[in-house]
Amino acid sequence: MYHYDEYDRALVAERVAQFRDQISRRLSGELSEEEFLPLRLQNGLYLQRHAYMLRVAIPYGTLSADQLRALASVARDFDRGYGHFTTRQNIQFNWIELEQVGDILARLAAVDMHAIQTSGNCVRNISTDAFAGVAADEVLDPRPLAEILRQWSTINPEFLYLPRKFKIALCSASEDRAAVMMHDIGLYLYRDAADEMLFDVMVGGGLGRTPILSQPIRRALPWQHLLSYVEAVLRVYNRHGRRDNKYKARIKILVKALGIDAFAREVEAEWQHIKDGPAELTRAEYERVAASFRPPSYPPQPAVDLEFGSALARDAGFARWVQRNTHAHKQPGYVSVTLSTKPGADMPPGDVTAEQMEQVALMADRFGFGEIRVAHEQNLVLPDVAKADLYALWQQACEFGLATANIGLLTDVIACPGGDYCSLANAKSIPVAQAIQQRFADLELLQDLGEISLNISGCMNACGHHHIGNIGILGVDKNGSEWYQLTIGGAQGKLSALGKVIGPAFSAEDVPEVIAQLAEVYREQRQGTERFVDTVARVGLAPFKARVYPAQEVRA
């Protein structure tokens, strides 16, 4: 993990003091709400339906056990005992009092955490693969460059009042697990034949009202240029992005309006001015940061672990969990474990209690070198677990409701907070997610359906990424009541696709049954080991529509 030095600590401490002062000036009336708004957003503080929400940054989704304990303490002492992990690898606390924010941030600063730029029209948390640095299919570790980008974008004075929010993700594995193509800038990192690090730079992705997948703007950019190139993109965007309409202010709209070629020319012209200047990264800086991310010294594991093998044979539940919830690791004898935050109807997707956080911290200390990751799917990951420890870990995870064997399955739902919390919502998300999870509680059925991603957003802002779910559910408002529009065929990753609307919206009550019908059609139509999304791609929407809208009955 990256270790803060005196600069990082000084910056975070000063920021806490600065924001405390801004809060007290707000409370005294010296700052109007309008003046305070961007300041609080740049410190992660949203005003929601019932209370303030504080979003705390988890840079590229990496946490130490002590940091997770600090988050647990915030949940316990300042919130209602839980937090919500987000698709961009952060955590949100939903029930925050403005007066306490300074104390919360000070507590976080003590463990090298902050909420800087977790919202607002600035560069947000840099996100990446939850298995970064350990995945078997990874080419090289993206975390050092993610940290370098984090530092460079933090309180970068020129780019704090962009036209709109700006999100950057990077990944370097053969599978893209960071939804790179729905980011404003997406970076695919790899090595050339001479072992030099290169980037393919993507630009202009984003969901929301106008979902657009990013397009390549520059191939094979040598790593030294990372900061200067990103700076060139940001400067062009800051100068020319639209500011007259907040729904047209994201960079995707500028890229679309100019066309990728004209946009790329603008960036190139800007870049020529700054390329090879002081913003060029140095090998020394890369090495300095990369030193923080050296792998732990893994105790060697036996080639064949009889005990692990017999536990698998003995306990079908354990075997199923190992099959679903572990991910191949670079190091022989090790895996990464995903702890599901989607137990079903008991807890909203992504919500984790303070007690669970503390337990995960203990598990990380005991079995995982003290490190935890937050996945894009809102689950928690222990990146380095010896296979020999899996059984003990599984038992502990079961005890605390974190061992649901549903990673990648239909009930591993991504959902935004929706109408229960969010003042922008058209409809609730959480109860719909829970009703679907309940409908598919049967693990046999779930396994049989295989990989299906299901994403729910409570409104067009698309925080739940419904456009890129294999099944997407969008809350819509019809004359003041809550309805849900379904899309199918969306996908994230390198083969990202936007789902297509299947037809008129449904009531909340009908949604689980409609999903069940979609699943049924898939089971009838699939060929061999085809996944849901492949079947949709092959047969199209028609058979699904025919089942869900029999005889074209007229709906409200």
């Binding site: 600069y7 961007p38 530092q151 913003a279």
Partner: protein, 172 residues
């Protein structure tokens, strides 16, 4: 303009007798010299100013849609450049200032005008502004407190051309 803060060798100072008037519509009453919009400035300068032979009596104010590069030919004749923040949330002025300082080569006074508030002053300073016409309903005295901002700048800026990783390296 009232409520002005200017950076000097001795640190930030409040200026009470600034003679400039921001005259973006051209109709503002002005006793002294005026700061004009780019269009108005270009229109009313005599040929001797536009060709660089004589200093201009008027200053220019860039608005967010203006390309800072358009001032390149006139640096030698301009007495002052202002950059307008119509709203403090419109960040184009930061890039304009940065370009004026680092690329276009403006070394004279660069003044932030408009919705200029305490909590943005340090960012403005980093981007190269050296004068700040604080919004008139706010206290310039208070606003001065916002100038310093953070002691740490990770990246680089108009006043600190080297990113932290280069400064860090040169320390040891």
């Amino acid at each position: 303009m009232n409520n002005l803060i200017r950076l000097t060798e001795h640190g930030p100072e409040r200026v009470n007798e600034d003679l400039w008037t921001l005259a973006l519509t051209g109709e503002e009453p002005a006793d002294g010299p005026r700061i004009l919009s780019l269009t108005a400035w270009l229109q009313c300068q005599p040929e001797s100013v536009l060709s660089g032979q004589e200093p201009s009596a008027d200053a220019v104010c860039l608005q967010p849609d203006d390309e800072a590069e358009r001032l390149q030919p006139y640096l030698a004749v301009l007495p002052l450049i202002a950059v307008l923040f119509p709203s403090f949330r419109d960040g184009r002025g930061y890039s304009q200032a940065y370009l004026l300082r680092t690329r276009i080569g403006w070394t004279g006074e660069l003044r932030a005008v408009g919705d200029v508030l305490r909590d943005q002053l340090s960012h403005m300073r980093q981007c190269g502004f050296d004068a700040f016409a604080v919004r008139e309903d706010k206290s310039a005295e208070d606003a001065i407190k916002g100038l310093n901002g953070m002691s740490v700048l990770y990246g680089r800026s108009a006043i600190e051309p080297r990113p932290l990783f280069r400064r860090r390296a040169s320390e040891c």
